[in-house]
């Protein structure tokens, strides 16, 4: 049995190296492992799985941020309530990623960020929602539906009797991923080191016990999908889980709770949809210099360079760079919109009145054509 499990793990690791792994295979492996208690022989297998799952979580949380950022920046009025809602979602995704990194670092494993940067348009990492192709576009009807699919909980509470469905059928969720992570922590009860963990405004606390892991995962799931099978009100009606926030944007209505029955409905008052830049979906491979006007290219190039620097610092923060790197990463994150917003105002030479948008490409910083800004 042990031999079979070791072979299974090896296959998974080969898939990871070739970036073809998916959560289903990891969950299947987990199911096999969970049939037996922890022993000295299978301890390393459980630990290896936990690390792979955590790395998947890191990559996944990171992967949601670029499309959400593109949508946020497409909103012209930064003070619009929908912009505020999106911004909070992004902050929470950052928090989730930081927690995932901390959990991985607590096991003595360095999170990989710069070697696992997603490409857009593309699939989410680790085969999550495999039918969904995530694009970089402005805030529009399709992007909202895509975001809802990303954040879809295992059980959706109906609002005004409606539920959410999309064309895609395979919905292995991020929530399941964290459930497996928690199970493994509880099984292994590992000794956790705080040495390479980060705490601060976007990484609330370090995880130095399984109890803290449990708190972190509970928070991640509540913020992302909502409480399991329970009501959106659990997180507070002004602090809905991401899925329900996107639903509010889609319906242009706030979700409120009926006083007696406790049912959830969409409010009658219509929320104005913000004025947005008509950002076109960024094409496969991103925009190339030869295809865009120089004004746009300068912004695209500077964006990609700054984005790549940000990734370096983010990666560095949990790989020895510590607090200094995360502060610089935060600063660079804020700098990105300096290029993104003006870019979204530049019309493309297409007949659809669309505009350009950031490509979120990782570039080689050692190249002489790229430079820190």
């Amino acid at each position: 049995m042990l031999k079979k499990l070791k072979a299974q793990l090896k296959q998974i690791e080969n898939d990871i190296l070739s970036k073809t792994h998916n959560l289903t295979s990891l969950f299947n492996f987990a199911d096999e492992l969970f049939k037996e208690k922890i022993t000295e022989e299978n301890h390393s297998l459980n630990l290896a799985l936990l690390k792979h799952l955590l790395q998947s979580a890191v990559t996944l949380e990171f992967a949601t941020m670029p499309p959400y950022l593109a949508a946020l920046w497409s909103i012209k009025d930064e003070r619009h309530p929908m912009a505020a809602s999106l911004r909070e979602i992004i902050h929470e995704e950052m928090l989730h990623m930081s927690f995932a990194c901390n959990m991985l670092a607590s096991l003595g494993e360095a999170p990989q960020i710069k070697t696992a940067v997603p490409v857009y348009p593309g699939k989410l990492p680790a085969g999550v929602h495999p039918d969904l192709t995530v694009k970089l576009s402005g805030l529009n009807e399709q992007s909202i539906i895509d975001f809802m699919e990303i954040e879809m909980p295992e059980q959706i509470v109906p609002i005004s009797g409606e539920t959410f469905s999309c064309d895609h059928t395979d919905h292995s969720t991020v929530g399941e991923l964290y459930d497996h992570i928690l199970t493994l922590f509880e099984r292994l009860q590992p000794e956790l080191s705080v040495d390479n963990q980060i705490s601060g405004p976007l990484a609330m606390y370090v995880v130095d016990s399984v109890e803290k892991v449990r708190y972190a995962i509970t928070l991640i799931k509540r913020q992302g999908e909502g409480s399991h099978g329970n009501s959106p009100a659990d997180t507070g009606m002004d602090d809905l889980a991401h899925f329900y926030r996107f639903w509010e944007i889609k319906k242009r209505r706030k979700i409120i709770q009926c006083p007696q029955g406790g049912d959830f409905i969409f409010d009658n008052e219509v929320l104005p949809f913000p004025d947005v830049w008509p950002m076109a979906d960024v094409p496969v491979g991103g925009y190339q210099q030869a295809d865009v006007p120089d004004e746009a290219w300068q912004l695209i190039k500077r964006f990609d360079t700054t984005y790549s620097e940000m990734i370096e610092k983010l990666h560095g923060a949990w790989n020895g760079g510590g607090q200094g790197d995360i502060i610089r990463a935060h600063e660079l994150m804020f700098t990105l919109q300096k290029f993104a917003r003006p870019l979204m105002a530049i019309p493309r030479n297409a007949n659809d009145n669309s505009t350009y948008g950031p490509c979120f490409r990782q570039v080689d910083l050692s190249s002489s054509t790229n430079k820190e800004f």
């Binding site: 405004p201 300068q298 502060i327 610089r328 935060h330 600063e331 804020f334 430079k371 820190e372 800004f373």
Partner: protein
């Protein structure tokens, strides 16, 4: 070096706006910026930790401050210097916005017509409406967070970012304001969205408090601006006139090597601040300008004025909510007495001292206090302080001139002969008496009042704008009167000082001048 299109002397707030706008319009502009100070890195982690944890909280630019021993201002009747300079300015790449608090307030319409309204001081040759669109640009550029619904003055655009809200520690003073019919307002501050409220604005680890240094560094790093050069440690000693109405270039010394250079330019913009510009003009004598450039009417350096800070401290018997400073800038202010009605009596700009109640928990621990005792002390007696800038009017007799000797940058020392009127002292006393009523309305006991000796942070007037050469140094376009290609962009050009900080107005003027120069260049090339 070949002839430049522009030489900009200085590298601070005004210089940076001008360089940015000129280069963005024409990236190939040959623009040389000469800065006497050095490049001091920003956002450097060791420097930040030194500031935050060392006993004296050192800041890396403090060495550029004027030394107290360099003060050559005249001595007043009280046997003290009439003017102090130490701590007022930073001499470095990026200038004094390296250390400023970031308070970004517009002047008000009546400030531009001080003489017409009061019979004192001078009118600007432009009015508020003319400058208004540039105020809007400046606020966008500096990322000013403010509340436009307060309606302190007419404005065409909202602030780019919402204001910082009042803190709990502002509460009692807000109530006192209301009781005395003083409208409380939220201090507009220049902070980018990335502000993480670390309270270490003097050396912001995120670069969130606006500083010209960040903008200037981006310009330097921009490979499109291939003819843009900033030379630090380069002290301009003379402006060369080629005729009575034209200048040809500047002489400067490289402080590291001691070598002297001459460089020519089509246009020169002096952005070296209200002290250095008049000294440079006075030093630039020639057959065309025997009294110094632009100084035929002996007005260069005159009318120097600043804001004296007034303070009233009140003691509260206890601090039951355990409040302390949480931001490094004031959030509560009022411009009720910065008004057309008050202008005749001298305006007053009120704000709550951000540092009160002053609680240094770490120091109490360092002194060996237990937690219970520290909490008792926190909740014990404490102070609140009301501060104000008082508007003062520059006098003809008040003058900045070249002092004896040079400072460590090779710049001539500054002599200031500052004169106040008796009215100024009476006015200050009246204001302090009024401020006491506010403190007493808070239920506090007044324990201290203070009138600051004028300090150079908000120095204006030394090259003031005027309609004619007989009454000032620069014209409405900031060009030195009768010189076709010499401009000044500095607080020194202000014809009046209002009661609020000058930097936003300076930045607005710089935006306006940049537009003017770009239009000129476009016309010339057409």
């Amino acid at each position: 070096m070949e002839e430049q299109d522009y030489i900009i002397v200085g590298s601070g707030a005004a210089a940076t706006v001008l360089a940015k706008k000129i280069l963005e319009k024409n990236p190939l502009t040959k623009l040389l910026m000469l800065e006497a100070g050095d490049l001091i890195p920003a956002k450097e982690r060791r420097q930040w930790w030194n500031y935050a944890t060392c006993a004296d909280g050192p800041l890396p630019y403090q060495y550029t401050y004027d030394k107290k021993s360099d003060n050559q201002s005249t001595i007043g009747k009280d046997k003290k210097p009439t003017w102090t300079t130490s701590g007022a300015r930073v001499r470095a790449f990026g200038g004094s916005t390296m250390h400023w608090g970031g308070w970004a307030l517009r002047f008000k319409p009546e400030d531009f017509q001080l003489f017409t309204n009061t019979g004192r001081g001078a009118d600007w040759p432009i009015d508020y409406q003319e400058l208004e669109p540039y105020y809007a640009q400046a606020e966008q550029y500096m990322s000013v967070c403010g509340d436009e619904t307060e309606n302190w003055q007419p404005r065409s655009t909202p602030y780019p970012i919402p204001p910082f809200e009042w803190t709990a520690a502002d509460g009692e003073m807000i109530k006192a304001f209301h009781a005395l019919d003083i409208q409380p307002g939220k201090m507009p501050v220049a902070r980018y969205r990335k502000c993480m409220t670390t309270g270490t604005c003097k050396y912001c680890p995120y670069g969130a408090r606006f500083s010209a240094q960040y903008v200037l560094q981006e310009l330097v790093d921009n490979r499109d601006f291939i003819n843009f050069k900033v030379l630090t440690q380069s002290v301009v000693t003379n402006i060369t006139a080629s005729s009575k109405t034209e200048i040809s270039g500047v002489d400067y010394i490289n402080n590291q090597t001691g070598e002297a250079f001459t460089v020519t330019a089509k246009k020169i913009i002096l952005c070296a601040g209200a002290y250095e510009i008049p000294k440079l003009l006075m030093a630039s004598t020639s057959k065309y300008w025997p009294n110094g450039m632009g100084n035929d009417h002996d007005l260069v350096g005159r009318y120097i004025v600043t804001h004296s800070m007034l303070e009233v401290t009140g003691k509260a018997p206890s601090n039951p909510h355990g409040l302390w400073q949480e931001y490094d800038f004031p959030t509560l202010m009022s411009r009720t007495y910065d008004s057309p009605e008050q202008q005749k009596n001298g305006k007053l700009f009120l704000f709550k001292d951000r540092t009160r109640p002053k609680i240094d928990i770490a120091q109490l621990m360092i002194d060996g206090m237990s937690k219970i005792d520290i909490n008792k002390k926190i909740r014990g007696a404490c102070e609140f302080k009301l501060q104000a800038f008082m508007e003062e009017v520059g006098q003809y007799e008040s003058r900045l001139s070249i002092g004896e000797g040079k400072d460590r940058f090779g710049l001539p020392l500054t002599k200031i002969d500052y004169h106040k009127t008796d009215d100024d002292d009476k006015r200050a006393d009246t204001h302090i008496a009024f401020m006491k009523t506010i403190i007493e309305e808070m239920g506090l006991e007044v324990v201290k009042t203070f009138k600051q000796t004028p300090r150079g942070d908000h120095t204006t007037g030394t090259c003031r704008m005027s309609a004619t050469a007989a009454t000032g140094v620069t014209d409405a376009d900031l060009k030195v009167h009768n010189i076709a290609n010499l401009y000044i962009c500095s607080n020194g050009v202000f014809s009046s000082n209002s009661a609020v900080n000058p930097t936003l107005t300076l930045t607005a003027l710089a935006h306006r001048l940049a537009e003017h120069l770009n239009q000129q260049d476009e016309t010339a090339h057409a």
